[in-house]
Structure formats: C-alpha cells, structure tokens
C-alpha cells in the first residue's frame, strides 16, 4: 500500500511538471504579446522591450520554464533580472520555495495571491460539499426506496428543476430575495473565521454554498438512486433479507455501503474541481476566490498566476484521485493489497 501511494505521488509530480510545460508553451504561442499587453496601448517599442526583459519573456521558453521549476524547488527573487534588482532594491520581493511565480499586474507573488484567495474558495466548497452530499445522498436513497412513487418523481424532478436553472440565476435570485428582500441571510460577503467566528463565517457562506450545491446535488441524487437500486437487486441483499435483517439495516448497512464506492469516486473529483472551479458562484456573490482569480489572470495575460493556478488545481485533482484510491481500499476489502 505504501509503495503504491509513493508510486502514485511520483507519477502525480511528473504529471504536474508536464502540465507546467504545456501551459508555458501554450501561453508563449498565443498571438497576444504579454509584454505589450502589460505595458499598455501607447507604449514605445523600447519600453516594450524593457518590460519584456523585466518580465523575463525575452528568454527562450525552455529557460523560462527551467527558472520556474527552479523557483518551485528552491525559491526565487523578483524581478528576475539581477541588474534590475540591484538598481531598484525597493522593488525586490522574496518568493520562498515552492515559489509559483510573481504577478507583475498584481505586484505580489502567486503564492500570496493563492494564500488570499484559497481560504475563500475552500470555505465555499466545504459548505457546498456538505450540503450537496448530505442532501444528495439522502434524497437519492429516498427516491430509491420509494421508486416509482410520487416521492421518487418529486425528488428527482425537483432537483432536476433546480439544476436546470443557470447558476448565476439561482445565485442572483437568492441574493435578491433571501438576502435583500426577506433578510433571512446577511448580504453576501466573505468574513474569515478569525474576524467573525465560525457562526458568522458559516452564515455568510450559506447562500453561495447552497447555490453551488444545487448544481451538483441533482447528479448525486440520480447517481445515489441508481446505485442504491442496483445494489438492492443484488443477491446479498436477498441474503440479508432472508436472514431477517430489518429493512432499514438492509438499506443502510448492506445496500448503501455497496453504493458508496462509485459515489466516493465522483465525490473526490467533484470536490477537487469545485475548489477552483466555482467561478460563476464566486462572481455572482463577489467572493474573491480561486475561480475569480483565474478569470482575472486569464483576462490580463498574467502568465505566472495562470501557471500557478493550473498547477495548484491540477495538483488538487491528482491528490483527490490518490485519496479516492486509498478510500477505495478502506471501503472495499477486495481492493486491499494483501
């Protein structure tokens, strides 16, 4: 098991290295000149060259990439050019390993950007995950138990109905009515735990969390329903019934346990994706999380930020996959390596 995990981690690291190169290459081949973009429209040519040099874009792709990897491994100092650092010591910023780069636009290291944005995204994601997993699985089991009845149709139809609305619409609706008109929840705005305590933090997250959860819940309801129905028709369920085991225990101990395996797989990937991908929700509620950071960076051709985010989010997906595989072994004894 340990050897297996080590192998997986090594493969994961190699994938991240490859990903960073691909992002670098794609970025450099794109028609917009980042130096020109960051310098502005009415920029004289020599100023562009200067900016290009300051940003390090004048160097060959492989060298830039190598510098980046070196930064990740041992840390760097910015600006990249040594002469510039000596000329303007007040501009020098230290970026400790693992240094993901320095954003010229935002005038801070990518690590600092992420450190600011990540807690917001993680908070929203956690609240959303708790809502959608609890209600998704609960409603899914409910629909499976009452298969073919009004309850089944109501649950499946209801979640699909919610799912059918675009996220920005659900979010806007919630802000308009629940927060502003009815005042049930406070107007959205991120409050860190350190400032408002857990209660305030959670309260502020309910609306964006719910908005994000609505998107995923429909899928979980349907999947849970299908998996529970599938396992309810298995032979071992008949065995459990023929032993005289009570209905509830047959459902939760025997059927749901077997349905968990595919749900855990889905959950791992969705959670990793939602950490960095809640772009619409973050925009609607104006929470400066990773999703919004990524959109801004893309619009500004902010390469260091883009590379940093791609690696972070890619890394999350890889880690989530490894965790899912470990969970598999815990759930299913047949997967355990003897």
């Amino acid at each position: 098991m340990v050897a297996y995990i080590i192998r997986r981690v090594i493969v994961g690291l190699l994938m991240l290295v490859a990903m960073s190169f691909i992002v670098f290459a794609l970025f450099m081949k794109n028609p917009v000149d980042p130096a020109q973009f960051s310098c502005g429209k009415n920029c004289p040519p020599e100023r562009i060259e200067e900016t290009r040099h300051a940003l390090g874009y004048d160097q060959p792709l492989v060298v830039q990439w190598g510098n980046f990897l070196k930064g990740v491994a041992v840390g760097r100092e910015y600006p990249a050019d040594e002469k510039m650092r000596e000329a303007n010591p007040e501009l020098v910023s230290e970026c400790a390993a693992p240094c993901l780069g320095f954003s010229q636009q935002l005038q801070m290291t990518v690590n600092e950007e992420i450190a600011e944005a990540a807690p917001i995204s993680i908070s929203i994601a956690m609240v959303a995950v708790v809502i959608w997993v609890i209600f998704g699985v609960l409603f899914g089991v409910l629909a499976a138990v009452f298969k073919g009845t009004l309850i089944d149709r109501g649950v499946v139809g209801g979640t699909l109905f919610l799912y059918a609305f675009p996220t920005f619409f659900v979010g806007a609706l919630l802000i308009n009515f629940v927060a502003i008109k009815w005042g049930i929840f406070p107007a959205p705005g991120y409050v860190p735990i350190a400032e408002g305590g857990v209660g305030q933090w959670l309260l502020q997250l309910m609306l964006p969390g719910f908005t994000l959860a609505v998107v995923y819940m429909a899928g979980y309801v349907r999947m849970t329903r299908a998996f529970v129905l599938e396992s309810m028709s298995e032979d071992y369920i008949r065995t459990a019934k023929s032993k005289g085991v009570k209905g509830g225990k047959v459902l939760f101990k025997h059927a749901l346990r077997a349905a968990l395996t595919p749900l855990v797989t889905m959950f791992g990937l969705d959670f990793a994706a939602v950490l960095g991908g809640a772009i619409i929700t973050e925009s609607v509620f104006n929470y400066y999380g990773l999703g919004k950071l990524a959109v801004t960076a893309n619009n500004n051709y902010d390469l260091p930020t883009i590379v940093g985010l791609v690696l972070l989010l890619g890394g999350l997906v890889i880690v989530a996959n490894i965790i899912v595989d470990i969970l598999y072994a815990i759930i299913d004894p047949r997967v355990r390596v003897a």
């Binding site: 032979d235 071992y236 065995t239 032993k243 005289g244 009570k246 004894p333 047949r334």
Partner: protein, 361 residues
C-alpha cells in the same frame, strides 16, 4: 384453471404436515399482462424430510421458495393460497412477524455463494448478523457461536477464517459458510436453492453430505431446488417436478425416478448423463423451450414439446389442462398427464433408450 384442493393429495400426511403449501399462486403484474410464475402449487413436508423440487429455469421453483420466505413482500407480486408452517399461514402474518420468522424458522441458502455474500463484510460479521437479529446476545457471544457453526460445517481454523472476507474463501467454503449462516438459528425449514450448481463436482458431493448430516442433527425439513436429478436421487424423500408454474408430477423420490409417468419427467431423465450406463444409452435433450408464462398454451403446457401427444388422441392435450391424478403405479404418486397407460409407455419406449442395461435385467 385447476382447483388443486379438489384433486387428490399427494403425500399421506394431510393437515398435520409440518409445512403444508396449498394452491400457492404467485402472479406478477407486468406491462404486458399477468405472469403466472407459480400457478396452484401444493405439497407437504415433514420435519427431517427432504423435498426435491425439479424443473427447468423459469418453471417457478425459485419464485415458489421465495414465497415461502416471504421475499415477495413489498414487490408487485400477488400471492394467494396457503403456506402453513407448523399451522401458521405465512401469507397471513404481518410483515414484521414474517421478518422475525425469516432466518429463525425458515432459512435459505442460495445458488451462487459469492454473490450471495456481501463483498464488503467479513464472513464472520455476516454470520454473526444472522444470529444477532434473532438473539439478544453480545458481539462476543455471537462471534463464539459463528466460530462454532463454521467449525460444524467443516471450515478449518474457524477462529481465524471467521475474519476473512468472502473473496478469500473458496467456492465450497463459501457455500459451507452460507449453510452455517442459514442454520445458526436452528431453523425448522431450510430452503436450498440450487446449492451445488455453482460448485465443483467434487465439492458438490461434500456439500450434499454436509446438508444430510446437518439435517439429522437439526431435524430440519429441507426443500432442495435443483435441476440436477442426481442431487434429487441423493437427497430427496419426495420429489416435485415443476413445469410452467405447476406441479406436473409429485410423489416419493424413488417412485418418481424409477416409474415416472409424465413425458416431461421422462425428458429430464433422458437428459441426464449416466457414468455407469452403456455407451448405447442416449442423451436426449427436450426439444423446444419452456412456454411463456405470460401466455401459456390453453391445454397441457408441455404439449408443444411433447412427443407422445398421439397416444392421447384428438385435441385433448392441446385444449385441456390435465388434472393431477393418481399415477398407475399407485401409492401417493400423482401426475399431470392425459396418457392413460403412461407406465407401459415408459417401460416400452423410454427406458430402453435411456438405460438399456436396466431393460435386459
């Protein structure tokens, strides 16, 4: 439809039988119509005795046994008739009452022990669960009992194997564990649904031996469902041959196997390879397929596949369902066939083909 209560009863033990199934019908409503999976089945079984139910796939064997276990509750199956176990009609008791009887009074073991056991729980956990459902005992006591049962069914090192998962057991051991699970509460009735079909031939004999052995110890009634006539010959006191949801021949096992009077039973016997028989003995499959239970033929359900309808003459086989009537060989042997001299036909036509050795004697 035949009213079986008017036809002669099969076994001599009437009314007082330990298990008495009367005119059991299990019908399923589907979008295409009503499927009559079991249509008027009656039999009796005493404690310590074994009934073999034989028939092709889809003849209603498993559906009938699931009805005895009450496993159709909560589905769209419609059941009628009576299933009297020790005088209590299992079709009339409440769901909760039936649940309590399941595993305690009636237990069941299944065809494929790998899929019949939950892959995520240890063998011990599953056996303990069967015990703890019906007995208010601590985990430690249940575990002790599970180890005892595993030992009783012949699992080596039961105190260690109890913590193994089903996939770590061999096929035969899994079936032994299933038997341990079924018998842990001393049920008075054990239904074995093709218990040896999924097993190695060498293991089959061991499992059958074990069942017989345990039956003596626990004095349980056993219903063994199979399509293997060898299993029937080995195990069964009584044999019930089912076809298209109905009994077509029923009586003492020896009687059915030596003097069958229904062409379907002949067909089953002809399809059994016999190791000791001469090479002249023919292996004759029954032609055709079992009829759809959605639209069964109006007459004898076996008529489309029967080679002997000419002996009846006229349209009788095609238009009229034969009643279960006493066989010519007498005793409690009953058959559902229009052929008057079926015993003579069997000796003259069937026996020489399937067992030439016997005829020369």
């Amino acid at each position: 439809m035949t009213d079986l209560s008017k036809t002669p009863e099969a076994t001599p033990a009437k009314g007082g039988a330990f298990l008495s199934v009367r005119d059991l019908k299990v019908h399923f409503t589907t979008s295409d119509g009503i499927v009559k999976a079991t249509d008027g089945l009656s039999f009796d079984l005493e404690r310590g005795k074994t009934l073999g139910i034989v028939g092709e796939s889809g003849s209603g064997k498993s559906v009938s046994s699931s009805a005895i276990m009450g496993l159709h509750r909560g589905t769209n199956a419609m059941l009628s008739g009576e299933i009297l176990l020790d005088g209590v009609d299992l079709l009339k008791v409440s769901n909760e009452d039936m649940r309590k009887r399941r595993g305690r009074d009636v237990a069941m073991i299944f065809q494929d022990p790998l899929s019949a056991m939950h892959p995520y729980y240890t063998v011990g956990n599953q056996i303990m669960e069967a015990y703890q459902v019906h007995n208010d005992v601590t985990k430690r006591e249940a575990r002790k009992r599970a180890i005892e049962m595993l030992d009783r069914v012949g699992i080596p090192q039961p105190d260690r194997r109890v913590d193994d998962y089903p996939h770590q057991f061999s096929g035969g051991m899994r079936q032994r564990a299933m038997i341990a699970m079924g018998l842990i509460n001393n049920p008075s009735l054990l239904i074995a649904d093709e218990p040896t079909t999924a097993l190695d031939v060498t293991v089959q004999a061991q499992i059958l031996d074990l069942l017989q052995d345990l039956q003596r110890d626990f004095d349980a009634a056993i219903i063994i469902i199979t399509h293997d006539l060898g299993v029937v010959a080995e195990m069964a006191d009584d044999v019930l041959v089912m076809y298209a949801g109905r009994a077509v021949e029923y009586g003492p096992g020896k009687e059915i196997l030596t003097n069958p009077e229904m062409p379907y039973t002949w067909g089953l016997l002809s399809s059994v390879p016999d190791l000791t028989a001469s090479t002249e003995a023919k292996l004759i499959p029954i032609r055709g397929n079992p009829p759809s239970l959605l639209n069964p033929p109006p007459g004898c359900p076996f008529e489309p596949r029967c080679d002997h309808t000419a002996k009846v003459g006229g349209d009788l086989c095609r238009t009229t369902l034969p009643d279960l009537t006493p066989a010519n060989s007498g005793g409690s042997h009953v058959k559902r066939c229009h052929i008057k001299n079926a015993d003579e036909v069997y000796e003259a036509e069937i026996l020489p083909e399937i067992a030439p050795d016997l005829v020369e004697d």
